[in-house]
Symmetry: C2
């Protein structure tokens, strides 16, 4: 996907009293060739915000004939470059989950209301913090066919929320990711089995946190970094998963 | 694959002083259309022996243009119908691993020597006991490009054997399989990461032991049984994996 020309357009919507600015990628079909409504994919970005990585994913999904919206969580399409400010902002949202949920749900609504999108066929995916966001959105009972979580944490502050999930779950995670230790996968397994959710976890060896993002490549910490192999494999999983749920 | 006509032919070879009878499936190509040598897939069956399930897999792989050999481990193509006799026979082999290894290696050699097979492009797969056999064969240092293990146990009596593995590993396992608890996956993860092996584990929710085999469907024990969904998904994983390694 590295060669893809970035051709998303801003999509503005409101949530939690804040003006949101996502990035929208549409399939390249026009006029008489235009298909009917197509499935929509909501994409939640890593903690800093809607940057190059998720914009590439949105474009790649649009090339597969999905409408893809990289949703904003911070407001005004802000991309943090200061980790301290970023964490303060995210922690403030996590401390008031109803505000966070409003923001996640508003992204879903903005996507579902697009004329090109079939609102009955929507999936959410996300990376790192965004993977957790996609799962949190499903835990609110949102009308999602599927959720794809890439190196995202799997536990939730929403107690007994697994039973509200209406989506099939695909988790792709690195076995050396210190933020998603295997005990967390074990807990997730027990929680989702008990709730009767359709779920699968794909565990990649010798793979750390952020493995889908080339931008993570230079991260010097053990357990973090890009893996071209696991990136490619997990993308193939997602393609297969979307084929399955739609 | 349920509709596939079974069209394997017996292939005889010797190992450990025993006459072995595997079942061979060849791609349907003839004359001028025949390709050069193609990759070979060695298939190890569930504990009872080479029965309908692995024969269907062999045929399905041949339809994908692989030469597939469902290898015999018991001798004379025996399929046990008495669980007690079967376990005695398997435990005798496990107690003398060099004998078991000879049998596994002889299957590989028989496949590699076929004129249709490229001996540099061979993978081994297996189901239940056969999955463990495929991994055991890799642990002997066998020349395998890949190993696919479906609801097979992951530990080995061969100490420090992970470093000898030359294959990429694909593990597909049910999260409710009592024979492959998640602690076993955790141990496998640590062992293979330490050895620098390329591995992936695909964990399926609400899925028990024997999930690929319709014949397991009537098994009344909790944690055992067929899952059409996980069977289909894990077959797709295998197809993708074979595409990748060859």
């Amino acid at each position: 996907m590295g060669e893809t020309v970035l051709n998303t357009t801003p999509l503005r919507y409101s949530a939690d009293g804040v003006s949101m600015c996502g990035q929208l990628a549409l399939p390249d079909v026009q006029g008489a060739d235009a298909p009917g409504k197509v499935p929509g994919i909501l994409i939640f970005a890593e903690a800093p915000g809607v940057g190059a990585h998720v914009i590439r994913r949105a474009v790649a999904l649009a090339q597969r004939n999905y409408v893809a919206l990289a949703a904003d969580v911070h407001g005004d399409g802000l991309v943090f470059d200061n980790p301290k400010t970023m964490l303060e902002s995210i922690n403030a949202l996590k401390a008031q989950p109803e505000r966070l949920h409003q923001r996640l749900q508003a992204g879903l609504q903005a996507l579902a209301e697009l004329p090109q999108v079939d609102p009955d066929r929507i999936a959410a995916i996300g990376y790192c913090f965004g993977g957790w966001c996609a799962l949190e959105l499903a835990r609110t009972g949102a009308a999602l066919r599927g959720v794809g979580i890439f190196h995202g944490t799997l536990h939730s502050p929403q107690d007994n929320s697994a039973g509200r999930i209406r989506a099939r779950l695909l988790v792709c995670t690195g076995a050396s990711d210190p933020l998603v230790p295997l005990e967390q996968v074990t807990g997730f397994s027990a929680e989702m089995n008990a709730a009767g959710i359709d779920w699968q976890v794909h565990l990649y060896g010798n793979t750390g946190h952020g493995f889908t993002s080339p931008e993570a490549g230079s991260n010097p910490r053990p357990g973090f970094g890009y893996s071209a192999e696991s990136d490619r494999r997990s993308w193939a999983e997602l393609v297969e998963f979307l084929d399955e749920i739609f």
